[in-house]
Symmetry: D2
Subunit: 334 residues, 4 copies
């Protein structure tokens, strides 16, 4: 029997999730909601029932699970509402920028024994999954160093940054989750530094556009992340894991495999442009994983606790920059 799924929010990412849900045989999409009539149309054209409010969606669609792609400031409350009604939840990241609110979500979800999957889509990227698989099966022995390069092709507008929580919470947080995913241990210490090199407006908004973060794990493994808000050559998403028996890396996927040789040199294709291209399959795999775990009743990952940990790391990174020192993760409490 198909799982009944509703979707809240039909912006860019919501439309992707809806398309992917519609391709899954194990799913019946029972409803959608979005405040914008135009966005709703996307669902209507695909034969999905539309509801005017989130409450109506939860109450009337008979959904068993809800996929939350609405604006960030609704994630926590929508998750809590869904959990209280016994619905399973897929929620886009971040749950919230407030530690307290995220902790509340964790608690409510536990209380109501529903499941919440958090949209750390990169865990489902085939390149990174391959690196994870090699790491887990011992191909490189004990992990010593994790290196993550994560650079966006273009800086977001300053108004986005004003509400995003800043580079560590809107961008690096994906990398914090990736590091935790790969190492499989908890971070104990954070050192971060950053600066404004790309756009002074970002600095005026109180944020950074270039950053390096070191995470120290409980077993002494060190992860080092380099971030930039603007790599003019495209979306740069690389991962390298170094260990006692070797190294495994994932290089960028390129737009194509051509190579042009002329007297001037050899030229080839740039990395795929941005997350919609690079992570198109990851979004599919992610939704498939969510549905599979619901169907099997098995443990879902990444979950709200994963969101909580990455949020703590992000807050520690902010503190580290502010005070120019290493910050222990257990200093970060609500």
């Amino acid at each position: 029997m198909a799982i009944k799924v509703a979707i809240a929010g039909l912006g860019r990412i919501g439309q992707i999730h809806l398309e992917n849900l519609l391709q899954l045989k194990e799913v019946e999409v029972v409803g959608a909601t979005d405040p914008m009539a135009e966005s709703l149309k996307f669902a209507e054209l695909r034969g999905v029932n539309c509801y005017s409010t989130y409450d109506a969606l939860l109450d009337e669609s008979a959904c068993e699970a809800v996929v939350i792609c609405s604006p960030t400031d609704t994630h926590a409350i929508y998750s809590i509402l869904a959990a209280k009604k016994g619905k399973h939840i897929f929620c886009e990241k971040p749950l919230d920028l407030s530690l307290q609110k995220v902790q509340e979500v964790v608690e409510v979800v536990q209380q109501h024994q529903t499941k919440l999957m958090l949209g750390f889509n990169r865990r489902f990227d085939e390149e990174f999954m391959k690196v994870k698989a090699h790491t887990d099966q011992g191909s490189i022995g004990e992990v010593h160093i994790v290196k993550i390069t994560s650079r966006d092709p273009k800086a977001p507008p300053a108004e986005y940054i004003a509400h995003s929580g800043g580079i560590f919470l809107d961008m690096s947080i994906h990398d914090f989750d990736m590091a935790r995913f790969i190492v499989g241990k908890e971070v104990v210490k954070v050192f971060a530094q950053g600066c404004v090199r790309i756009d002074p407006e970002i600095g005026k908004a109180g944020d950074l556009d270039t950053a390096i973060i070191q995470l120290t794990f409980s077993d002494d493994t060190i992860a080092v992340i380099d971030n930039s808000r603007q790599a003019v050559y495209g979306y740069d998403q690389r991962l390298e894991v170094f260990g006692s028996l070797g190294m495994v890396k994932a290089e960028n996927r390129t737009k194509d495999q051509h190579e042009l040789f002329t007297s001037n040199g050899v030229s080839s294709a740039l990395p795929e442009y941005f997350f919609l291209e690079r992570y198109a399959n990851a979004y599919k795999n992610e939704m498939r994983s969510f549905i599979k775990h619901l169907a099997e009743g098995s443990e879902i990952s990444p979950n709200a606790l994963d969101g909580l940990q990455s949020l703590k790391i992000g807050l520690a990174a902010k503190l580290s920059v502010a005070e120019n020192r290493s910050v222990w993760l257990d200093e970060i409490t609500s």
Copy 2:
């Protein structure tokens, strides 16, 4: 207004085309037919009207165009029937193994002023399109040599070979079309040789499993093609064009971009396994191109004449092997 398209044949490749048609906004899929109830179900599940015969499909579905994915021996007759009723045609390759029949299709299509696109899907592969684009825009100057490597991951069963027309008509024909596509001139001379190295059963069926073919074009450009029915490492599809100002190549796409370094060496991913994976996007682009040209009323390519030329090259290659000599293309007449 959407173009009304019907589909005949819902085997593996028919299902792919149907899925791709259903994703195109400019298309209304008005009917499907297949002698197998199970195959029809695939269409029914997607809300497509099913017809019990090809005739019924043409007559009753109000289609403007038909996509023919039925068995090879029906391609010519189905195309002719459709053309006579004024329908446009997308037909899977080959049109037929008989030169005479293919010529008949060419004529009937011309007579009835319909359009026929032939399913040489590789022209729509993004790697090869990039090579073509560089060649056309002069990046490598005048073309001197074209090299095509085309190896299947696994040999087909001997019974397939008995009806396929042999390696030059079932496999190399794609490469003949690719060479013509890249060079944009006509082949005047063919030299081919081959042998049985993989499976003696293939030899008993009168065919080869390993072949090298040289095509000489009217402007002296030489294309050289190497084929094998079994590359144990996967589907090997490479193209290289060498000219007065440089070289452009398309390497295989790999399953992923990981690299594993251990004391034993560096290992990385194999090429994508077979045509369903490698050419998934090519099939989409191909169908999009068909529809776009119908919508615009523009010239369709590749068409039945392209099929005729590649068939002639294939027949010349067979004769070349049989007589161990170069064969001029104009020796090949029905």
Copy 3:
């Protein structure tokens, strides 16, 4: 005890061999000769005794072996003279363009039980040796197809071509030897075609500048070679061996490993420019191998018979082009 070696001819390649000989502990360089005073100076500066004629070199230097790097038309006679005096010989390729003369060298060398190593330097290139090693140890199973790309960065002057024997004897002959080296069997049939695409002067001199050659071996293995006298992007020297269990290839070595990513694309380094760069190590390995085999008294390879076989293939290729047909190697007799 060091082996006493003399060297005849101190042009570009002679200087390379002399430098390499001087680095070998097992060698004492006992003499050099060259008609040009300037070239002799190169030897003098390195403390090598100089002789005014080849005869004087052989008679007075007490050499046990002679390295012949003089002009091509002296190779056969110098080899014969040396063999008759019981000297071992390293001779630059080709021994001669006349089948008869080469056969004479083969016989004289055998008669006098001296050893002759022929300068097919590419057998000692580390890339190709790696491919050979994998092929020999069965990594790719039974060999089915060998592919050789061999393109010079720049066409030689027309006057060179007038005396070179043409593209098959001055250029492809290296590739014929490589194919024989890899396959370890004899060629039985040759098909070649070529044209003039780069420089009409080459055509006027009766030669080709672009060629594709197919070699069929006694075990049905097919080698296909593509040659161009001008690859504007540098010296293109690639080898690919395909077999029942896989494929092994050697890509070009590049000038360096840098990669530059900008908004325009990715650029990287060209292949090494020409044979002096690409085969610098091969020349060292080659001379080391010559000396090692002399010291051990073991069989030397490649030898005069290897030269004879490649010459026959070259002559067959010429005949194939002239008569536009496959030529059996045993048609080629003096």
Copy 4:
């Protein structure tokens, strides 16, 4: 007129420098010294006069410049002695582990107006020079992030570590110099962390075997270095520079360019094993640069001040680990 050069110390690296000096036409090697008779033999065999002591070498060989490759604890005093006698100096790194001594060398060299080149050989590696050239000519715009991976194939014995100054002074110091070389600015702040993951004996000797260091430059550029004393897959030496207009990287050079495709995957060659292989050309370029600058009387680089700066960074890194905090470079004073 040739420059008269003497060499002190004929261990592994001294022999390399001697060989390279002997190949330079602009150089006359006028003397060598080494306390080990066996090492001296290496020079004798090459016709170099040998002296029993360093003083004798300086006084009697009539050298204009001396190349110091003796043990580390003699570098400073040998440099000072040479400078006082008006000799130019090439000195292997490090000058000394004591800040005070290095400062003394700097002063003495300045006082006596001789020139001292410090053996930071990596500045002369062709890969890194290419990256430097692209950076300097603006290919990637303003530099934001420098990433250096530097991992040895094998940990040194514990007794070496006891006298080496530890990982930051014996290993990372090369990377500190590379970062300064690329950025062309001074480091103002250092954060480092490290641990013992490879060999507990290293820990017992009070050192680390795994480390990550962040350097902040005066213009906000951040360099991040990852070091390991044991990469089982070989010597891992990579450099990446990211800037406002792009990125340029130098990947490792591999032992060869072969690729083996089997049903198990694709395998290829490991990086060159260690510094003798990887930096063979760099040592040549370095010595050529030293001689060229002497001949031209131009400014030499890297010099003693470069050694001083890298030593300071190393000491700052040690302090950073000890106190788990960022260290300002100007905290480091003798």
